[in-house]
Symmetry: C2
Subunit: 195 residues, 2 copies
DNA sequence: AAGTTAACTGAACATTTGTTCAGATCAAAG
DNA sequence: CTTTGATCTGAACAAATGTTCAGTTAACTT
């Protein structure tokens, strides 16, 4: 029978994805070679193909896993409540989650054009589902009369762009804690969409 | 003496930059080859080197020209006034300008990591100058007592991220005109930073 | 008409690319 | 100890990369 313990595949496998994640985030998908990834893992390039059918799948798997986890974690944190309270939850969740996974976020927003058309469709659908959760909250707030919504799709995109932008400048060693940043952004979001 | 009229260099030169702009925006710097650019121009790859010392300069020149024009155009539009009025000017200018140059904006925000360190420093400085203009307005509004500013740098980055994000989803054929979008964003920005 | 030279071609260059695969390695199973 | 098979090496592949350059072309000047 096959080896079960002592196998390296359960160690090397994740390390391949980890290395790809870090390198793609740092230099971009197209600028990273399979040999660079292999070197980071401590293995020859050919060995990578025990863990991925090709380079494209590496990118796709990273993106899909990220979007999937984003949706799952968010749905765990989801509590019923007023639109205002739900918007606060969404805002704080989004910022915290994105600050914790800056590499994944960077890739998910920057490497969309390096996906094959079929893979792009899948990721785009997941992203759309996430955006729709915010849009629903805004629409509900409009019904409640607490939010001023002219075109819910635009306000959704505006808020998400503002929140996600935090990853481009935030540094953990900086002068502000994640919680302080969270508070400042929540103030701005609340005011921006309120009547 | 050298040929003056009938020369193609004044035609081909800009065409090289144009092709590079479009291709870099569509597929990313690292994913575009000099031969693809040459094909778009209708010339052999070697001919490109009459117009650029190397591929990196193509990217750098595009970015520098964009940031330079952004700063120049903005300084032309700059009028004295209250912080609120200046913020409105900045918001409307930023959206209009960015909608008109989506390719340039895309490159300027996505290809920073493909610049050499020295080139990155130059572009980063120009970008910083632009961001500072917004930060100055916010700080002035705080002094006037009309803006609620906790940390002017954060509010600056948040507003810029929100505004620039418009380029990711806006389509000229869409259901909203640029002017309508401008108005919606201005509403949100004003409320977000107001006391 | 002859000469000049900017503009371009087309081939060549050394590397690097993603991917494949025969064979070595070696821990576990029988 | 022998067999098994997952895991990995190391070399090989064709294609593509950025860049260079000797030579061709043709629009200009004189």
């Amino acid at each position: 029978m096959a080896r079960t313990t002592g196998s390296h595949s359960d160690i090397t496998g994740p390390r391949v994805l980890d290395a790809a994640l870090r390198l793609f985030a740092r230099h971009g998908y197209a600028a990273v070679s399979m040999r660079q990834i292999a070197k980071e893992v401590g293995v020859q390039a050919g060995a990578l193909y025990n863990y991925t059918p090709d380079k494209q799948s590496l990118l796709f798997d990273l993106m899909k896993r990220h979007m999937q986890e984003l949706l799952d974690t968010r749905s765990d944190h989801c509590r019923p409540g007023t639109a205002l309270k739900q918007l606060e939850d969404f805002t704080r969740f989004h910022i915290r989650y994105h600050l914790d996974r800056s590499d994944e976020v960077f890739i998910a927003y920057m490497e969309l054009r390096n996906l094959t058309p079929e893979n792009f469709t899948v990721i785009e659908a997941l992203r759309r589902r996430y955006e729709n959760e915010l849009e629903t909250i805004l629409q509900q707030g409009a019904v409640e009369g607490v939010f001023a919504i002219t075109d819910s799709r635009i306000e959704t995109m505006a808020v998400i762009a503002m929140l996600t932008g935090v990853t481009t400048w935030y540094r953990a060693e900086g002068r502000l804690s994640a919680t302080e940043v969270e508070g400042i952004y929540w103030d701005m979001v609340r005011k921006a969409v309120s009547v």
